[in-house]
């Protein structure tokens, strides 16, 4: 870093060595830090907090001025309504199915391809790796015109294959797992070979267990992106709620229940809870996948 040598300056004149003011200074800074952190937390949490508050109010109270910031008489009926009348139970089930298929598919195709790139020698290896990387340059959004007609000609509108098959492979995932596989010592593969391990047995009982952190990171990342997909499910589950995912369900919910904002917000809270749980449990893995490339 060229900037560091300008930063490290000759020592400044020593500060007056009065001890008590300095300690007070430090305490003040700690208070300041906590204040800043709390303001940040309030700003970040405020929208979701208000969603929870409003979901527990009767519609007439929501429009009340000044707006109530705390539900004095929480009414839980909105949640029951969103769950049954708003079809949220169906949407959540659909999202769970769609997400499971995509996560499983991406893990399988990435493990297989990454193994080939990390452990096998074959012609055009470099070229094929570049092909995988090239998929990262083509955002899904620029392929929808044709993908829509492909899916329709396959008869896949309003079906789980239509929702999931285009996402069953990932260049990013392959890349991530290849990196993890390359960390496995070569000697291990040779030793396993001497023990009579074929490629599949080595893959399953040595490589995959050793790459578990990377697999977890990819799994959590796929889960997050699949669950929160908006554009594609919007296009392929147009007017049929039998496979509609929860994100599109939310759009439906606010369009049909304008007079029942508490129900829409109850639905929103229900939709975000699975992911908040995911965040609490898998924070480390999620951070790992989101920052791959950010730091060496």
């Amino acid at each position: 870093m060229p900037a560091t040598d300008t930063a490290v300056r000759p020592p400044a004149p020593a500060p007056p060595a009065a001890r008590p003011p300095r300690r007070r200074h430090r305490r003040l800074r700690l208070v300041l830090r906590y204040t800043l952190l709390s303001i940040g937390a309030v700003v970040v949490l405020f929208p979701l907090y208000m969603a929870v508050v409003n979901s527990l109010l009767a519609p007439s109270q929501i429009a009340h001025q000044p707006p109530p910031f705390f539900p004095l008489h929480p009414q839980w009926g909105s949640y029951r309504k969103a769950w049954t009348e708003g079809d949220l139970a169906v949407y959540l089930r659909n999202s769970a199915i769609q997400t499971t298929i995509i996560v499983a598919g991406q893990l399988v195709t990435s493990v297989l391809a990454a193994y080939a790139f990390a452990f096998l020698e074959f012609p055009f290896k470099r070229t094929l790796f570049v092909v995988f990387l090239m998929t990262l340059m083509i955002p899904f959004e620029v392929t929808i015109a044709t993908n829509l007609s492909t899916v329709s000609s396959l008869g896949w509108f309003n079906t789980f294959p239509g929702l999931t098959v285009p996402f069953l492979a990932t260049g990013f995932g392959t890349f991530l797992l290849r990196q993890a596989f390359l960390q496995i010592p070569r000697d291990l593969r040779e030793a396993a070979q001497l023990d009579g391990y074929g490629h599949f047995r080595f893959l399953w009982s040595v490589a995959v267990p050793l790459a578990r952190p990377a697999l977890a990171a990819l799994g959590v990342f796929s889960f997050l992106s699949a669950w929160n997909q908006y554009l594609w499910p919007l296009l392929v589950t147009g007017n049929d709620n039998s496979v509609r995912t929860v994100q599109i369900g939310l759009k439906q919910l606010i369009n049909t229940q304008l007079d029942q904002i508490n129900v829409s917000l109850a639905g929103t809270v229900i939709a975000v809870v699975p992911l908040l749980i995911l965040l609490v449990v898998f924070q480390k893995q999620l951070v790992r996948s989101l920052t791959s490339g950010a730091v060496k």
């Binding site: 929208p47 044709t146 829509l148 492979a169």
Partner: protein, 298 residues
């Protein structure tokens, strides 16, 4: 010798077999549709539904690129990106710096700050849509109530949907900045501190320069994210209002050309433009991944 060769051939076969599933998906759902955009762009939709589309060469490309609606869409997209990315990055950086100290309760603050990473665009749209509602929202209470209502207002609709994206991007930005801060060499920071650099000097002259690769990574990721978002516009503004409220960002125009006007040719032209703009940023993103390739060996 021949046994060795047949064994090697078997390894080749196995490799191609392992790559086949992913390659098949990429061929059908990534490369083919991407390349077909260039063909679709040359064909115009029939004047009446049911007739075949006909070849018009570059005529359609020219008329889309020259249209005022395209120019407006491009301007809206750039404004949107400019409103979302810097604010999101600076917000994330401030939160990350504030949270970069091992003090009590920090794990909780970190969890809160990264929480918007998991909120979907639909969730964010519904939540903010309620807060911005002219009747039930907070605006009348705050004494701000523009006419027409914020989300139907040509001046305020775009800043409003950008605000939603800023909030949503804040979590990712925080996560990236925190990872960057944690990777900084402690010795350098310690040395600067011993040299008497105060908090503010420290931040501008040591932390920010050291963090510049992270800031650049955040900029690239954030820009790609911003160019690809449109969900809150679809939910809160909708196809009827998006044009006159100047919120028809590029991707929303692609979506509308495709699913509302049923015009794949125009959608293809717009997709190519979107791809060309994003290419600069995706290439930069690839370079970040590449750095890891070079030291991991082959």
């Amino acid at each position: 010798m021949s046994a060795l060769r047949s064994r090697r051939h078997r390894e080749w076969g196995l490799a191609y077999l392992l790559l086949a599933p992913a390659l098949l998906i990429f061929a059908v759902f990534t490369f083919y549709p991407f390349l077909r955009n260039f063909k679709l762009a040359l064909y115009q939709n029939p004047p009446y539904p049911g007739l075949p589309s006909h070849y018009v060469g570059l005529h359609q490309v020219g008329s889309v690129l020259a249209s005022t609606s395209f120019h407006q869409s491009l301007v809206s997209t750039l404004l949107y990106v400019v409103m979302v990315v810097p604010v999101g990055l600076i917000g994330g950086l401030l939160l990350a710096v504030a949270a970069h100290k091992a003090i009590r309760g920090m794990a909780w603050f970190r969890l809160v700050f990264s929480s918007t990473v998991v909120t979907s665009v639909a969730v964010a749209a519904v939540v903010f849509g309620t807060l911005m509602d002219p009747v039930v929202g907070l605006l009348p209470w705050l004494g701000v109530n523009p006419h027409p209502a914020i989300l139907e207002n040509p001046t305020w609709a775009l800043p409003a949907v950008s605000l939603i994206a800023v909030w949503q991007f804040l979590g990712l930005s925080f996560v990236i900045m925190t990872a960057g801060l944690q990777s900084l060499p402690d010795e350098v920071l310690e040395a600067a501190r011993l040299d008497g650099a105060g908090g503010w000097t420290m931040f501008w002259r040591v932390t920010v320069p050291l963090l510049s690769p992270t800031l650049f990574f955040g900029l690239v990721v954030g820009t790609i994210y911003a160019f690809q978002s449109f969900g809150q516009i679809d939910i809160l503004i909708g196809p009827q209002n998006s044009q006159f409220t100047h919120t028809d960002v590029l991707l929303y125009s692609v979506y509308q050309a495709l699913s509302i006007q049923d015009n794949p040719g125009v959608a293809a032209v717009l997709s190519i433009v979107l791809f060309a703009i994003l290419l600069v940023f995706t290439l930069a993103q690839l370079r970040f991944l590449e750095r890891r390739v070079t030291y991991a060996g082959d």
